[in-house]
Amino acid sequence: MSVPDEGRAGLAGKTATTSASLRVRKIKAINDFVVKFANVNGSGSASANELFARSILRMGVPVSPRNIFPSNIQGLPTWYEVRVTEQGHLGRRGGVDLMVAMNPQTWDSDIQEIEPGGYLLYDSTKPVPAARLRADINLVGVPLTEIASSKFADPKERQLLKNIMYVGVLTALLGIEPEVIAQLLGEQYKGKDKLIKPNLDAFMTGLHYAREWLEGAIALKVERRGNVGDRIFIEGNAAAALGCVYGGATVCAWYPITPSSSLAESFQKYCRKYRVDAASGKNKYAIVQAEDELASIGIVIGAGWNGSRSFTTTSGPGVSLMSEFIGLAYFAEVPAVIIDVQRGGPSTGMPTRTQQSDLLACAYASHGDTKHVLLLPEDPHECFEFSAAAFDLADRLQTPIFVMSDLDIGMNHRLCAPLKWDDSRRLDRGKVMGAAELDAGKDFGRYLDVDGDGIPFRTLPGAHPTRGAYFTRGSTKDAYARYSEAGADYLYNMERLLKKFDTAKKLVPQPIVRKAAQKTGFGVVYYGSTSPAMSEALGALEQQGVHLDRMRVRAFPFPSSVKSFISEHETVFIVEQNRDAQLRSMLVNELELDPARLVPILHYDGTPITARFIVKAIADRVQGSNVRPLKSGKAA
């Protein structure tokens, strides 16, 4: 069965497109729509899709792209979703206005995702049965394979250039400025000039085809604006890696695991750029790809013990493996930084999908009574800030510090505030007693709480010929690091560790509160990558007359302001991307709050949480509580 003529815009069907479009509603939008590319993994689509996203950004219109990829190198389906958003809503919206369906494997489900009145751009070289199409969407067929075959001789080149061709088609139909694409291609292939021409040719072929045959086929438009400002477009993992460079990390030990591998690789890249001694060509850093996560964290702890700033980057399964060592670093009080780029768990779970489900595993990692500092960045900007800060905190507090990123932040380009560094800032190396102080006869007790903040002094190996040496161990010891099985010595250290944790509350990034436009009994607490969807959702709820005060928690232990905020509201929604309401559990237990007042809103199917989801979840519950009437209307 072949595609009905009126639905097909082929080489011979100049009039065909419009006839279909006459009958079907067309979504009209300027700078506010979602385009999704369905591709086959390994077909070279990533650079073409990114080119598309960047071109819109260069026209001053914010975009929020997301990779939705499989645990696979070649052959399985992969998607790239671009939200074009003049308003700067960087969360995932949900729904698709224009599907670029390049993968026969996922054709049927891809088609179903399109909003009524939306658009399907597809390769019309071979006819598509009508049963596999939808009547309420607009079909935009381009015989991509046919054109590519006639134009490009090399079969491998054909596939790659086919991708650039559909960018050309979209450029024409959406009103993107072709000069912007040409400029981006020039930047992308700088130094490889031979590649510019074929790419540009393919792009222009697509562009001309669309101009000739598909005029007006799509009513989604990109118009130049000035809404990007000085914001930068960067992946969280790259930003976190830069934070490690700026934070003075010299040792990185890691084991490859999605979605954290690109963080270690970015660290390598930036170290090559910034940390090679110009005179000797030697490296002012050491990176070890370890044999497993146990070795990674062991190397980090050894380096931390010896006075180097060191970190590892991993994901949930890695944290599980590191648990014993994390307990050692906690109890022996060794600085360490662990960046956890979270993915879907438990077990192997959803290795290429996002979640915030490692909070409990990290906050209380290892056997016995332990508590660890967690930093919760919302975007790449904070990945940079918090990664750099983590090294100061680790040295100051002499304990493992977790930076809790996730796949959504880590592996997607995100528009965010430019990275900033204050040159007057100094690294805080914490309480380290040096040779001069030891010579002056200062009393050194490795686990002695001299300042009342629970943080003892340490010495570094090799510091002094006769003073300050001590034996580090994971077993119980007294204030002078001597082996002890005495209950009193154990209690002294365990209680001092709690005091130290209390000290941490004042040192970690403080929560950010924003009050609603009017007084309300509702509050919402959220963290991390939920942030952009939450901002958008709260805006939409406000338009419906639902007002909530918001608090974005940025660290554990919770500063006292968290308890105050929750106490000031009758109902507080705790919005998270995990099944078990992990932050809520921590809030209830650590702050001794009444669980009934903390209402969990949970999104954990592996896709990033959307504003639509939050609006609906909160609106339903607010309505249920019958506090304030809601206006009817579409959410978000």
Binding site: T250, A286, I299, W305, R309, W421, P461, A463, A469, F471
Partner: protein
């Protein structure tokens, strides 16, 4: 005896090394191991080696895992920093410490349970990477602290104190290390201090990973007939291929051996390893022959000891990583932080 306090007063005429230190300055806390434990002899050999080499005690970092052997770093070099880490994981902690400060001397002490069972992976990867260190395995074939279970180095057919026979094949740390590219490897016996001390000295002066597998009988759980790691068995089956004399760089050579009876090897730091040959034709520069020799003799129930292989031109992990000469933990902030101007330039590229 562990309940006796260690005397603080020492004889005024104790011999001093070139730094003016006596052996007492290299001691640690009093041992809590069983009387007669082979491990205490190894601690004494370490003390002797460091004293003779006139190493400043605080220039050594001593690391261990968990077990009887891993407790011993508390019993020597009391002026050195020590790290008793987690079971089987000394190699990674030591690797990290070494990366942070390449200027210190690294000594890892472990046991057969710690390194051949739970920590076999970390042992293997440390050797592969050539971390510059001395790795001493205090090998007694049993778990002492948990009361006498077999470890992975126990020989097939050897008998436990309770009479159980070990059916599993043993792991030979020396052969394994040779296969993994170790650049200095020796086997010795805790009861033979004369052999052991120079081997430790050679190892401490070796660049790269130096492994010494020291058979160290467990008097409590593995020193009975039927054990292949008892004092009696090792004495009866010790088959030394050579005797090492370690000579620091500046020491003059006195030759009093017949030609062909001595092999002399100069290490990267100029120190010399003079090997008096005991086995005909044994070449400590031939990795494959070493593995074959060890296996042939093991099949006969013999324990091959001595300096079994050395590559004096070895490099180490720092060479592989091309790190700067300054220890990473001493790099100044200006070396580490690229500053705001670099970040602004980068911001401009990220659009």
């Amino acid at each position: 005896m562990t309940y006796l306090a260690k005397p603080k007063l020492h004889h005024p005429t104790l011999p001093q090394n070139s730094l003016g230190y006596t052996r007492r300055d290299y001691e640690g806390k009093i041992s809590t191991l069983c009387a007669g434990c082979g491990h205490d002899s190894i601690s004494a050999a370490i003390i002797q080696a460091c004293w003779e080499l006139a190493i400043e005690p605080h220039r050594v970092a001593k690391l261990s895992g968990i077990g009887c052997s891993s407790k011993t770093p508390d019993y020597f070099l009391g002026n050195s920093h020590g790290f008793n880490s987690v079971h089987g994981r000394m190699p990674s902690v030591l690797t990290g410490a070494n990366l942070a400060n390449r200027d210190l001397i690294y000594l890892g002490v472990s046991g057969d349970g710690d390194s051949a069972s739970i920590g076999l992976g970390q042992f293997a990867h440390l050797i592969r990477r050539g971390v510059n260190m001395t790795y001493i395995v205090e090998n007694n074939g049993v778990y002492g602290l948990t009361k006498g279970q077999f470890s992975a180095t126990a020989d097939q057919g050897s008998k436990s104190k309770r009479g159980a026979i070990n059916r599993d094949a043993p792991i030979d740390m020396v052969s394994l290390a040779l296969q993994l590219g170790v650049t200095y490897v020796a086997r010795s016996f805790s009861g033979d201090k004369e052999q052991l001390v120079p081997l430790i000295k050679g190892a401490l002066n070796h660049r790269g990973s130096a492994l010494i597998d020291v058979i160290s009988p467990c008097v409590a759980f593995n020193n009975h007939p039927g054990s292949t790691k008892s004092y009696d068995y090792v004495r009866a089956h010790n088959d030394a291929v050579n005797r090492l004399d370690f000579m620091p760089r500046r020491e003059t050579i006195v030759t009093d051996y017949r030609p062909g009876a001595v092999i002399e090897i100069t290490q990267h730091d100029g120190s010399r390893l003079r090997l008096r040959k005991l086995a005909d034709g044994y070449d400590p520069g031939d990795r494959l022959a070493a593995i074959s020799h060890i296996h042939q003799h093991h099949a006969r129930g013999e324990i091959v000891t001595g300096l079994l292989f050395v590559d004096p031109a070895a490099d180490d992990l720092h060479e592989h990583l091309n790190t700067v000469e300054t220890p990473l933990n001493r790099l100044a902030e200006a070396d580490l932080c690229p500053g705001s101007a670099a970040l602004e330039a980068l911001n401009a590229e990220l659009t």
